[in-house]
């Protein structure tokens, strides 16, 4: 990738083109495996690159398992020494039983389970790559109508490896990091739509955006969008600089997912209030963004979960360690 803005322009043009086969384009442009090393068939991009692309994907409510494929499955398989198949992938942690090449068990709420060419599963002891022929899928969704499926397996699975050390923590962090980017993007998308609508919808003889009450609400939403974006980008930047295993990254990702999750509810609330009744219809596109905001804030650790994690870290470290933790310098 030649520069940050080239990458953003590319992502913007890809996600905006709704006519094309989005996943195919992501594969062809290398965005589908952006952070996987080139030696493993990826594009060798950074976590900052991935964050920027995911924020664009979120803003377009892109219906693809991009975070799952690139940040999670490709990373996990590669880290375990397994080769990374082509096609859309997904990854989850799950308590499957692995013995003598036989894998059995059930995974719940697997993102994009039904469309995945491979499901990378981190069990307490192994990394297992499941393929469609080995599993039975019962379909389910999240609030945004994205696939969250129940996947049952009872099959001989040749592709297994030992779980790398620390993989469970890193998988959880990467999932939250990716989700925070998507949330930040979707929040920005919902704000953009609301600002646009406020400039078009006329009541009392003028666009509603001319009313100061509406302006103040949209400015509050803008502040939330800025906070989510800054937090998500800063967490990616920390992860890139310090590595996903660093304590500073754990702190940053927890803070970012908690903050982005908080902003999601506020931005969705204001977006709907500004849109009036049209916004709550099936026909209107706003729901593509707001239902994802509501779904994603609770996935990969809700605000409550990450706030508690962060609070426990801070409390255990003691009052004098608070500022060093916030600045990332002990």
């Amino acid at each position: 990738m030649s520069s940050d803005s080239d990458l953003l322009d590319l992502a913007e043009s890809i996600f905006a083109d709704t006519g094309a086969d989005l996943w195919k384009t992501l594969e062809e442009t290398g965005l589908a495996r952006l952070t996987l090393p080139e030696s493993a068939g990826g594009s060798g991009g950074t976590l900052t690159d991935a964050a920027a692309v995911l924020q664009v994907a979120g803003a377009h409510a892109a219906p693809v398992p991009l975070a799952e494929t690139d940040l999670l499955a490709a990373w996990l398989l590669h880290a375990a020494g397994l080769s990374v198949p082509t096609g859309p992938l997904t990854a989850v942690a799950g308590d499957l039983h692995v013995a003598d090449g036989r894998v059995t068990g059930t995974l719940t709420r697997v993102p994009w389970g039904r469309t995945a060419a491979g499901i990378a599963v981190l069990t307490p002891s192994h990394v297992v790559l499941l393929t469609p022929g080995q599993v039975t899928v019962t379909e389910g969704t999240n609030l945004g109508e994205e696939p969250r499926d129940t996947v049952t397996v009872d099959a001989d699975v040749p592709t297994t490896a030992d779980a790398p050390a620390g993989a469970a923590d890193e998988l959880r962090l990467r999932a939250a990091l990716g989700r925070a980017q998507l949330l930040a993007g979707a929040a920005r998308g919902a704000l953009a739509r609301s600002v646009q609508y406020a400039g078009e919808r006329v009541q009392f003889g003028r666009p509603i955006g001319r009313f100061q009450a509406v302006q103040q609400q949209l400015a509050l939403a803008a502040a939330e969008v800025a906070a989510a974006g800054a937090a998500a980008s800063a967490a990616a930047s920390t992860a890139e600089r310090d590595g996903c295993g660093a304590a500073s990254t754990a702190f940053a990702v927890a803070a970012a997912k908690a903050r982005a999750g908080e902003s999601a509810g506020e931005v969705a609330r204001i977006a709907h209030q500004v849109h009036g009744a049209i916004g709550v219809t099936r026909e209107h596109d706003l729901r593509l963004l707001t239902t994802r905001l509501w779904a994603w804030r609770d996935e990969d650790g809700s605000e409550a979960y990450w706030q508690a994690q962060l609070g426990a870290t801070v409390t255990a470290a003691g009052p004098d360690a608070l500022w060093p933790l916030v600045t990332g310098m002990p």
């Binding site: 377009h60 704000l191 600002v195 949209l218 400015a219 800054a230 803070a255 962060l310 916030v326 310098m329």
Partner: protein
């Protein structure tokens, strides 16, 4: 969603990309922390809330000057240190987080130095900058007036042309620290509110900034006690105060643009979210060993961390010559609300009542924070006005 791309690209960037502090920042930070630890151990002061308004301590300020931590961005030839704004950011955030008494130099170091570098004459720079960097010269801000608050262009202080300079008559209010400061920049009307070229009415035209030394004949400074009774801000009355031509700041008639530029330095710094940080630290100390507050603590910390990331991003963007006005306004809106959230959390989670008579500690910090909180979302442009700036930036007005 075809038109979405257009919709998205029309929305301005609300926050610049993250700033990664340069490697040297860690050493600087460690030095400042070591100094602060030593100061605290000596008992010279105890951590307070809202120190950049109320922690006036000239000894401490001179000590910072001695260590090279004031005027850090002022060029060496003017007595400064020729450093970057990010170095200054590191020092100031450490001082604020520690609740150190930084009020004496606050205005001079934050905005007077940079403004003199932008608009000041050679003589003005030589006169003030070395003493600002040494921590020996203190400034106030002479903008607000009884009838000019949010609507700053309504200032009525007049500057009348006289032989060799100007005569100022009028009243400034809410002038923080004027009773200790050596000088301030007064915004005054030096010409009618008309565009010079077109002659059309324009209330932003005809305003100028003057450097007024506060011991000049005709200047009267009267305390306006805060609701606590404390003396921090003042009424400053000018009766035909003579200001020589050499003390006009920048361009005659260019005061509006200069003042709005000056306000930009004011909006996004760490003082916009750290005013109650010492209370947060004290709250954690009081909570030690009591389970149940982790979520609320984590919530505050996540918000604080996000704010600092945003504020640093703005600082990095300013340093690279950009003017991220929207992001700066957003930092101040969210940051000053966060300062209030800390107050609410502290009083909800810890069962120690606020005590304005306590020497130090949680009860005193809480008392000061509660009583100072209304000012957080007013000073430097109210949050409503900031949201108006954001709305305009998004094309709504």
């Amino acid at each position: 969603m075809g038109p979405v791309t257009q919709t998205l690209s029309r929305l301005p960037a609300l926050v610049p990309p993250p700033t990664v502090l340069p490697a040297r920042a860690a050493a600087l930070r460690a030095e400042v922390r070591a100094f602060l630890a030593q100061e605290r151990a000596s008992g010279a002061w105890s951590p307070r809330a809202d120190v950049w308004l109320s922690g006036w301590d000239e000894r401490f300020t001179r000590e910072l000057g001695r260590r090279g931590w004031l005027g850090m961005t002022i060029p060496v030839e003017y007595g400064g240190h020729g450093g970057s704004a990010l170095d200054r950011y590191v020092v100031t955030e450490e001082l604020l987080a520690a609740g150190a008494p930084v009020a004496a130099h606050w205005v001079a170091d934050r905005q007077i130095g940079p403004t003199l570098m932008r608009f000041g004459t050679e003589a003005q720079r030589r006169r003030y900058l070395p003493r600002i960097a040494a921590g020996e010269c203190y400034f106030g801000i002479g903008m607000s007036e009884p009838d000019a608050g949010s609507d700053l262009a309504a200032v009525r202080t007049k500057a009348d042309r006289v032989d060799g300079g100007w005569e100022l008559t009028g009243t400034k209010v809410w002038t923080s620290g004027a009773h200790h400061a050596h000088a301030f920049f007064a915004l005054a009307r030096s010409a009618p509110p008309r565009d010079v070229d077109t002659g059309e009415s324009n209330r932003h035209a005809g305003l100028s900034q003057f450097i007024v030394e506060l011991d000049s004949p005709g200047v009267q400074i009267r305390p306006i006690p805060l609701l606590t009774g404390a003396h921090h801000f003042n009424e400053v009355v000018f009766e035909r105060v003579f200001v020589p031509d050499a003390m006009v700041l920048g361009e005659l008639g260019g005061g509006w643009a200069q003042v709005t530029g000056e306000l930009a330095f004011e909006r996004s710094g760490p003082e916009r979210f750290l005013s109650t940080f010492p209370l947060l630290t004290a709250m954690l100390a009081e909570l030690a060993g009591q389970p149940g507050a982790e979520r609320e603590v984590g919530r505050l910390v996540s918000r604080l961390w996000a704010l600092r990331s945003m504020s640093l991003a703005v600082a990095g963007s300013l340093e690279s010559g950009q003017a991220p006005e929207l992001a700066a306004a957003v930092v101040k809106d969210l940051g000053t609300r966060f300062e209030n959230e800390v107050v609410d959390a502290a009083r909800t989670l810890v069962a120690i009542p606020p005590d304005p008579g306590a020497e130090a500690g949680f009860a005193r910090l809480l008392a000061d924070a509660v009583l100072h909180a209304p000012g957080f979302t007013l000073r430097g442009g109210t949050n409503e006005v900031l949201r108006g700036i954001v709305a305009r930036g998004m094309g709504l007005r």
